[in-house]
């Protein structure tokens, strides 16, 4: 029974099936809201599902110049890592106090799992042997190196905030703070403080870049390099990438909600409120997507390193001051 329960948890709810369906629904929200901003009607609810099903039925072409093993395994690896990330987040969210589901240091694991899709994209596209993909790969590498540091700095702010809330100072508990469930349990809403708000904004932009939304859709840039990293993918493999992106559309905003807004929770009221938080983050992402042109890659790197980086450093200092003087709003 235990095995079946775990399998159900992994494959149906809230694992694979639930997350994919939710991701495709989030995909539809993105497309619909975008359409409304554009004065268009937009697609029907099931359109993202139709797209994936249609892609699954199409021929999968593998270019002659490609390294087949890497080319095929990259989307699988990316998809698996994102799925794992979402399961981790759901577990944190639905039962933060559950001891056996959680372990120390899972923030670090989550950060790793969030990098893997980008790495898989880099691997897969560089294995495809197309010059367009090569340029897309170079851009993706530059983009990852530029936003990853800012994202980690934003996490550090959250960790400091969590310590502030409970006045924890001994080393044992500090380490415990690297657990996502501990963060959700300890602190409430770091976004209400100055440093937390700055960190949220920076993390939001990093998530924008991770999702490949404008202004950071530089590696895909269809009018420049015709889809870049994904140009050689077709059929089922492309469907896997699309599903991976759909799940990221759930997992990454959810991650922000868990870290900055106190998570979703399990009671009826908190689920309604938590859905509201998630939709708020999603709509913010969509608004940024639709009110900006695509940046050039050097501009994106400069933006993250020379604007977001110093701001995050200031936010960390503010959070430390807040902890030192016991002021929650700093």
């Amino acid at each position: 029974m235990e095995v079946i329960r775990h399998l159900f948890w992994l494959l149906v709810f809230p694992g694979f099936l639930f997350t994919v369906i939710l991701g495709l629904y989030a995909c539809w929200i993105v497309r619909k809201v975008t359409a409304l901003i554009h004065h268009r009607i937009g697609p029907p609810v099931l359109q993202p599902l139709y797209d994936v099903l249609k892609l699954l039925g199409k021929e999968t072409l593998i270019p002659e110049a490609a390294n087949k093993t890497v080319f095929i395994s990259a989307p699988v690896v990316g998809f698996a890592s994102v799925l794992l990330l979402s399961i981790l987040l759901w577990a944190v969210d639905f039962s933060p106090a559950n001891e056996n589901g959680m372990f120390l240091g899972d923030v670090i694991v989550a950060i790793y799992l969030m990098v893997i899709p980008s790495l898989a994209l880099i691997l897969g596209s560089s294995a495809s042997g197309s010059p367009h993909a090569a340029i897309g790969t170079a851009r993706e590498i530059k983009l990852v190196t530029s936003y990853e540091l800012v994202l980690v700095m934003a996490f550090i702010v959250v960790l400091i905030k969590a310590m502030t809330f409970h006045g924890i100072s001994d080393a044992q508990n500090d380490i415990q703070l690297l657990s996502l469930s501990a963060i959700t349990q300890y602190q409430h809403t770091p976004i209400m403080s100055i440093s937390g708000f700055l960190a949220f904004l920076a993390a939001l932009l990093c998530v924008q870049a991770k999702l490949g939304f404008t202004p950071f859709d530089i590696p895909e840039a269809e009018t420049e390099i015709a889809g870049g990293v994904l140009i050689e993918y077709s059929g089922a493999l492309l469907a896997l990438w699309k599903m991976m992106q759909a799940i990221m559309l759930v997992a990454l905003p959810l991650f922000l909600v868990v870290l900055f807004m106190g998570g979703i929770g399990t009671s009826f009221g908190s689920i309604a409120l938590g859905t509201g938080k998630y939709v708020l983050v999603l709509v913010l992402l969509i608004l940024i997507k639709n009110t900006n042109p695509r940046m050039r890659i050097d501009q994106a790197v400069k933006f993250f390193w020379f604007y977001c980086g110093p701001v995050m450093a200031i936010a960390i200092v503010l959070a430390m001051l807040g902890k030192f003087y016991g002021k929650w709003w700093l």
């Binding site: 004065h39 010059p131 404008t214 859709d217 009018t223 390099i225 015709a226 009110t291 695509r294 940046m295």
Partner: protein
Amino acid sequence: MKKKFKLPILATGPVHPLQEEMEFFQLYVDGETVVDIDVRLSYNHRGIEKISESLQFDQVPFLVSRICGICSASHPLAYVQAVEEIAGIIPPERALYVRTIINELERIHSHILWVGLAGHFIGYETVFMWAWKYREPVLDMLEKITGNRNNYGNVKIGGCREDLPEGIEEEIYPILDQIEKKMDMLTKAVLDDPILHARLKGVGVLKKEDAVNYAVTGPTARASGIPIDVRRDDPYAAYDLVDWNVCVQEEGDVFAKVVVRLLEVFEAIKIIRQALAKLPKGPITTEVKEIPPGEAIGRAEAPRGETFHYVRSEGGNTPARHKARAPSYVNVPSFKASCIGEKISDVLITLAAVDPCYSCTERLGVVAPRSGKVIYDFDMLLQLSREKTTRIRKGL
């Protein structure tokens, strides 16, 4: 030369999401920097000039309006002006005003279309959708006036085919007000957006001397500080009877091209308002008997630049020779001057910034079926052309 081929080629075309037409830019890239560019066209050659020689004089305007879907008022106008010059026909004044109004409506919709496309090229889909929405009323108005949203077919030798519908002024004025308001908003949004500045300013600069050397026309030239405009320099239709300005920017970058086009929309609105106010009563066409032998050129300022038509008549029913040159023909080669040394992202917006129209520009190209190797290059085609001219001269 040998080193060039070791560099990776980024193939932008023949089918590429950048533009809907067939075009092929081979970008030789070193990392993200474009070190050389090779433009290959002739995917969509339609032999318009040859077809034109088999049509009667009054059928040709319908053909040449299909050279370009967007410049479908300028091409017939240039052709008609050439024929009118051969035959010494002076169209009635009302026809001149009607031609002006249609041409300026065309300019408005073409420039708004381009602004939208430019937004699309740099990933700003909202500008794309909004601009095209603002363009709709202009197309509706053109449909009301001429019966078609594009390919108006309203101009004919000796005047216009159809007069403006009764009471159309009351409908045009509010639409002009509406467009002016919306474009005012869009212009301010574009001119104030810091990310647009970062993406467009100082990008793909076409220096003034390069612009002169490549003989570019239209907004491309005016954005490089060359104040040329056929409407002012060689006035046709009613352009010398209304008051308007030539919009010039000095920078030569993509941003300057955006600004020139946006400002020209306002100038076009101004011209239409004046033309409607001054519209004289009277006939819209004169009778045309026959076209005597002779040759002439006709020029018109299309939204993209100068449209040039040469017509030769030998006294028959059909033009003996008809030559059309679309503005993109001179604007496209300027990529050599403006794109080299830029980043890939910048090059692609620079390619789009001259508002190129490939099927209008197409010239004959002879390539081997499989390998795509060029069989007749420029010099050989020139040689063939000279030999043919010699043969014809002997026969005369």
